[in-house]
């Protein structure tokens, strides 16, 4: 599903490579943690997957396609296959929960009838059916994060990338979020969770990739 072949990324401003000679493979339907300290290259990893940036050398493949070969016009279609959950939620304050999730379908041109059918299902999956017509500022952090997850999966991405999904949440809420991500994974979506929160890593008992100063320092099958 995801493959990095000899990937190195160096930023112009910095002589140290953000990622150095990374080789890894994540299979379809896997649940993987990517851990490491700040500056270890985690953000670079995510940006490469979304083709926000390009590799300095090496190849990034998603579903066996070298994403460097995508034209600028094809990038949006890559992103429809790769859902993203951010640490800082990024919800639209002037829209309610339903509208925030529906928005992701609207902007890729899904018909209204499908939107009306699918959004409640996604909200049910993250346990927010009751809060459908509340606005973002009326929700707790955990609830907001669940809206973001619903938005990220509404278009059936084959990969879900979560950037510090529990970074702003208390341990109990974090566990709840991880349970939802596990649930999504069981439905067949490949899930990559980028985090430095070792508690959730230990709870989940999944494959763990560790980045250290831009190198892949370990790849452990079970956390």
């Amino acid at each position: 599903m995801i493959e990095f072949i000899n990937v190195t990324k160096t930023y112009e401003k910095n002589e140290h490579a953000a990622l150095r000679d990374i080789n890894l493979r994540i299979e379809k339907g896997e649940f993987v943690f990517l851990v490491g300290r700040s500056g270890a290259g985690k953000s670079t990893f995510i940006k490469l997957l979304l083709r926000e940036i390009e590799t300095t050398s090496g190849i990034v493949k998603i579903r066996d396609h070298d994403i460097a070969k995508l034209t600028k016009k094809e990038i949006p279609y890559l992103r429809r296959k790769v859902g993203v959950v951010f640490q800082d939620f990024r919800l639209l304050e002037n829209k309610n929960v339903y509208e925030n999730v529906a928005y992701a379908m609207e902007i890729i041109g899904r018909p209204e009838s499908k939107i009306r059918k699918k959004v409640p299902l996604a909200l049910e999956m993250v346990g927010l059916s009751e809060r459908m017509y509340h606005y973002a500022d009326e929700l707790s952090g955990g609830e907001q994060q669940r809206v973001v997850i619903a938005r990220a999966i509404i278009n059936n991405p084959s990969i879900l990338i979560c950037d510090e999904p529990t970074g702003n949440l208390d341990p109990l809420t974090s566990k709840d979020i991880m349970r939802i991500l596990g649930e999504i994974n069981r439905h067949g979506t490949t899930v990559v969770v980028v985090t430095h929160d070792l508690d959730i890593v230990n709870v989940m008992d999944k494959r763990v990739l560790t980045l250290d100063q831009g190198r892949l320092s370990s790849d452990v099958k079970k956390g």
Partner: protein, 304 residues
């Protein structure tokens, strides 16, 4: 596919209306500024249209008179006529006989017409002439010089339009050039105004744009509402400017008609004519300025 298009269109219209409403003050400011720019442009355009009208009516009367000497042979006359008719810059060639020339001359005299009674066809002093109409007033001088070169065809002398015609033509060219300069300057100003407004809108919605990018909206889709917004602002400004100009032109025309400048008003364009010519131009102008200004404003935010 159709439902996808409908769904996208509906979302876009909603977003555009929302955005204009949310930035209503800024939108209003830029619409007013563009109206101001268009008004200045409109004054120049009205001026240009009228000068064009005037020169057109004068141009249609422009003619060169080629007077023949009394002893020109009929062979010379035929040759000359052939040469004139063969000239591609010449619209038409007429011939004025001695009698006609005398009649026309007496028509210009208001008194002393009895003076002319002493002349008849035998002692008529008026010369025969070819009356040449030129296709383009700018070619007058050129055609005159060409005719001059036919000096062996019994030409006595050549006469053409008065000085005021040349002056009018020069002024017309001057106003044309000035209008283009004003057009360019005001276009740049209008573009910057729209650009600025849309950039603020884009900035206010940058978070939304970021989300759109991550969810996989195409650049085209993200750009369209902003371009729409610019176009709508541009067209609103254009329509208001047209109404103002039409109204004031009507008023000014009324003033001219009722005053000493009466003789001038016949040559002036009607308000309806101005409205039509200006209308299409302004709406197109507003549309283009709005579209281009927004397009440039959004471009840099799309690189996520």
């Amino acid at each position: 596919m159709e439902s996808e298009f409908l769904s996208i269109s509906r979302t876009m219209v909603r977003d555009t209306v929302q955005s204009i409403r949310r930035n209503s003050l800024m939108s209003l400011a830029s619409v007013i500024s563009i109206i101001a720019a268009l008004l200045i442009l409109g004054i120049f355009t009205v001026l240009t249209i009228n000068i064009q009208e005037m020169t057109a009516s004068v141009e249609s009367q422009l003619e060169i008179k080629v007077f023949l000497s009394q002893d020109a042979t009929s062979q010379q006359k035929m040759d000359l006529q052939e040469l004139l008719e063969g000239n591609s810059k010449i619209e038409s060639v007429g011939f004025e006989t001695k009698d006609e020339a005398l009649k026309e001359f007496s028509g210009t005299l208001t008194s002393n017409t009895t003076l002319l009674d002493m002349f008849n066809s035998d002692n008529n002093p008026m010369p025969e002439s070819f009356v040449v109409k030129v296709k383009n007033a700018d070619d007058l001088e050129l055609v005159k010089n060409e005719i001059k070169s036919y000096s062996d065809k019994g030409i006595e002398y050549i006469k053409f339009g008065q000085d005021y015609i040349t002056a009018l033509l020069n002024f017309s060219h001057f106003v044309d050039t000035l209008s283009i300069i004003v057009l360019v300057i005001l276009t740049i100003i209008s573009l910057l105004l729209i650009y600025n407004t849309i950039r603020l809108t884009v900035f206010a919605r940058r978070k939304e744009i970021g989300i759109m990018k991550y969810v996989g909206a195409t650049d085209h889709y993200i750009r369209m509402p902003f371009v729409f917004e610019g176009i709508i602002l541009g067209i609103i400004a254009a329509l208001v400017a047209i109404l103002i100009i039409r109204g004031s032109y009507f008023y000014v025309l009324g003033y001219i008609n009722s005053s000493v400048l009466l003789s001038l008003s016949k040559a002036l364009a009607s308000p309806e004519y101005v409205l039509v010519r200006l209308g299409f131009f302004f709406v197109f102008y507003g549309l283009m300025v709005g579209a281009i200004g927004s397009f440039v404003a959004i471009r840099k935010f799309l690189d996520v």
